[in-house]
Symmetry: C2
Subunit: 145 residues, 2 copies
């Protein structure tokens, strides 16, 4: 089971289309849900909203610009390893204000995609594509695009 | 003037929509064109196709997974600096086979977005968003999404 826990609505229809496309593709391999909490200028309130959906029994991956870098192959291997001992992985994507220290501390892994800052909606699509790619890699299926 | 020199057609309409959206947004700041050459399993032929559009007078930025990392602010500053002495920047995005050494050598800068591999179409969208973000930063305009 994969949960994408994120903040704020996405306005652009092309991003929603991309996210739905990859969500559908991933669902052939694994159950996946996207939980969207309301964005809040008060990061403490946002944190409390996010925490409602964070279960300490699950493997929590926080997306942070200062997190660890992986290649696609390393990330695929890491997901494979996590699944040996966990059945539920929750990815937490913050708003443009980032994640609070409280959530960062609770995470099992801090993952970074880039030193660049991306819009949160585009980032959600990028993460889903990479999770899909990981399943393709772990199933020895070709995927070149 | 900005040229995005890239390889292969994009099939997904949501990616074409995103690319067109950012192209339009960038065009408020700078003239921009996207040149798409045919992808070719023969990297030598692909290189010759790309080279037709690479002018050694222009500032050439090659997108490479092993290239230099920037933050969005550093990238914005770098673009600003390049424009002091160059009026035309060409970004070259290879196919999934990457760029040939010949093109890499010709480049003034090797730029990396991530240690992850992305689909070439999604990557084109990511690059355009970041160029747009750079113009917003350099014009002191807010952009949080």
């Amino acid at each position: 089971m994969i949960t994408i826990l994120c903040v704020g609505k996405i306005k652009e229809s092309y991003l929603n289309d991309m996210i739905n496309d990859y969500k559908k593709r991933i669902s052939k391999y694994e159950k996946i849900e996207i939980i969207e909490v309301k964005d809040n200028v008060d990061i403490e309130k946002e944190t409390q909203e996010l925490k409602k959906y964070i279960n300490s029994k699950d493997y929590i991956i926080a997306l942070e610009i200062e997190g660890k870098n992986f290649t696609s192959e390393e990330f695929a291997k890491r997901l494979d390893n996590i699944y040996l001992t966990n059945s539920h992985i929750t990815f937490v994507i913050g708003s443009s204000n980032g994640l609070s220290d409280e959530i960062k501390k609770q995470a099992n892994l801090a993952l970074s995609f880039s030193s660049f800052t991306f819009p949160h909606g585009l980032f959600r699509a990028i993460l889903l594509e990479q999770i899909y790619r990981a399943f393709k890699i772990n199933n020895n299926e070709s995927y070149h695009k």
